[in-house]
Symmetry: C2
């Protein structure tokens, strides 16, 4: 039997290779745009043999999807942490949406080009559905406390939020992002 430590080392090694490939690919896309990235360039830049690279990922697109999923998972963890802080649903919704909008702003540039491609393609990741679900749950809580309008379903309101805040990507400052969040939140409030 292979000792446990040995297994853990292999597992760790695999994770490190995967990590290196994802980081290298993201960096190449950021530098050269989507078109400049090939399996050969990724192997070269990450210092992994081409044969090894193909054992991990069949093609560039699969790497990009994995990178994108990992990005979203990281952001979800960050947003979950904000959601679980003390406060009313409305306050926590505001914190989550502001953070989400700032993340969108950071995605600007070639990495944003990558995300846009992922979003516009047929490929809709589980993680994205998770994000939508996540916002919807917060909105449902907000409806219960009367902080969020109840004449439109939380599902539709979640779609509205995520689309409106996607506009943060092209905003020049954090102040502009905060104004966008304020306008978006105003749309969510119960109407007199």
């Amino acid at each position: 039997m292979v000792p446990k430590l040995w297994n853990e080392t292999i597992e760790e090694h695999r994770r490190a290779v995967r990590e290196a490939v994802l980081e290298t690919t993201a960096a190449l896309v950021a530098e050269q745009g989507l078109r400049g990235v090939t399996m050969s360039r990724i192997a070269e830049e990450s210092g992994i043999g081409r044969a090894t690279l193909y054992k991990y990922f069949p093609d560039v697109e699969t790497i990009m999807v994995a990178w994108h999923e990992r990005q979203i998972a990281g952001h979800l963890a960050e947003l979950s942490e904000l959601r679980d802080r003390p406060g009313t649903p409305g306050e926590r919704l505001e914190a989550v949406l502001e953070r989400y909008a700032l993340i969108q702003q950071q995605r600007h540039g070639h990495a944003g080009e990558l995300s846009a491609l992922m979003h516009s393609g047929d490929h809709v990741t589980h993680a994205e559905q998770h994000l939508r679900h996540f916002v919807r749950e917060l909105l449902t809580e907000g409806v219960q406390t009367g902080e969020v309008r109840d004449d439109v379903s939380p599902e539709e309101l979640a779609g509205y939020c995520l689309h409106a805040l996607a506009g943060a990507a092209s905003l020049p400052s954090r102040a502009a992002v905060r104004r966008l969040v304020a306008v978006t939140l105003a749309g969510l409030r119960p109407q007199g």
Copy 2:
């Protein structure tokens, strides 16, 4: 000297060829997605010789850009007509945004995939800037009549509107689109 009628006939013929190429390309994209479309397929399907096609357009991307620009120009004409009807700026804004959202909804599918690619690429057309400018002007009028909030610039509010209403693309019904427009408009109103 070439008679005037002859020139007009040539001009008309050119317009007809251009039109046929754009329509064929849009139809091919709608059927097969972006990847299935080549210059040879476009020539074949539109019944134009390959050599002639290349006299009009150097590549598929140029055709797609031309198609997209024509789409937007058509939509702008429709929106301008709504803007110029009688009513307060707020009422006309609502009519324009609702029409815009319904247009977004119709773009669903492969043609939407095409538009999404155009939007996410480096290529931002003059027509798109025109649309943004158009909405911004209406918002500015709305600020003057007190129907639109004045604590955020019309420029930023225009970005908010267009992004929020882009969400209409995935909505299943016209009723859902109207709810989205109502929520988006609520974000634009002066805040108490």
